[in-house]
Subunit: 223 residues, 2 copies
């Protein structure tokens, strides 16, 4: 049960695209994998033979249970390594994705589980995405966007919707990161911008777009 890096990348990409819509399209995959549709078709045939996915020509593709399990293992590795890189090696959260793309293909199961233990079983990676446990269970983080937070309520940043470089740059500038505790101070209906306060820091205003893409766990009022 060992698959090539390339195959693992296909499975992972299909898994992610399936979150958006049930069945994944050849073009969408080609796009996600930076390759040509013809290459995708070739590979889908091979992955079908290995029973990792259901595929009928012209009909799109879905992962089988086995495919999904594989995808989750890869995502688990990716996110654990990201956590390791940020927490232990002090990388910035913008720079870890690329390295984790390589590390996620290291095969040893024992390594992953030991790493998980070493890191004290983190629930989410530096971008706030949940880390599947060793059984493949994905913790469902309570996540809502700052836009939906009531006035004067507080929350802890645990995810970013738009993870573009520009967005991350802005967040870095405003000193907003995973784990930041924020309080909603004011909402401006005119443009949807919101003024928030980060513990121990002066208040900042964020645009509608940023507010929608800044995800938090809503604090259950009681401190």
């Amino acid at each position: 049960m060992k698959y090539s890096v390339s195959k693992e990348n296909y499975i992972k990409a299909i898994f992610h695209l399936q979150q958006e819509q049930d069945s994944v399209t050849t073009n969408a995959l080609a796009d996600a994998l930076q390759t040509k549709p013809a290459s995708v078709t070739d590979m889908l045939k091979k992955l079908k033979i290995q029973k990792l996915l259901q595929y009928e020509k012209y009909k799109g593709v879905k992962l089988t249970l086995e495919g999904r399990k594989l995808a989750i293992q890869i995502i688990r590795k990716h996110r654990l390594w990201e956590y390791f890189l940020v927490e232990k090696l002090h990388f910035g959260w913008e720079e870890v994705h690329e390295i984790a793309e390589e590390l996620e293909h290291i095969s040893s199961r024992k390594l992953v589980d030991r790493l998980d233990e070493f890191l004290d079983f983190p629930q989410s990676d530096p971008h706030g995405d949940p880390i599947p446990d060793s059984n493949g269970k994905i913790p469902s983080l309570q996540q809502l966007s700052v836009s939906d937070l009531p006035l004067n309520s507080t929350g802890t940043v645990n995810g970013i919707g738009d993870q573009s470089a520009d967005m991350l740059e802005l967040l870095r500038h405003k000193n907003l990161q995973i784990g930041s505790r924020i309080e909603v101070k004011k909402k401006f209906d005119v443009d949807g911008s919101i003024e928030i306060k980060i513990r121990n820091q002066p208040p900042v205003t964020i645009s509608d777009h940023v507010a929608k893409n800044l995800l938090v766990a809503y604090d259950n009022k009681s401190k």
Copy 2:
């Protein structure tokens, strides 16, 4: 300057074989890499074009300066990861080699240097082999075999010559490991066996073969 896993493995194997003898033979390489001589010839031609080695047909092969630098970077990664696996993830030193064979091909230079720092710049890996620093300098560990140690002198185990499974099994049984401080108590000329004492443990006798392959740093008498 990125090379395939396969190419990196060739370079590493050549580097190791060159420690034994200056010029490396096609058959020796095929043997080390578990492949066929014909495949080796093919690859040598490609590596020559990339200026990683000097190769003339029927004349054997040597690394160029560039090839040697690459080899050392790979070995550095291998040994740092081994150290990490043993010290931080508590793997046994027999089980880390295989995993490190994969990890050594992760490309990020920054990752290696951060890992080195995180581990506090270790000088040698769990098998006692020296870890090159980030400039490629290999610390020359003072290493002599227990056979060469004078009577009543003490030393610290820092390497194993014969790293066969049988050897490791024996050492484990006698509780001898990298870092063990030993003292030579008695030498039996009849068969070359030696009685040694490990700090805080009863004395044990090791055969001539084991003594020759147990490498230590000789303590400069003064505590």
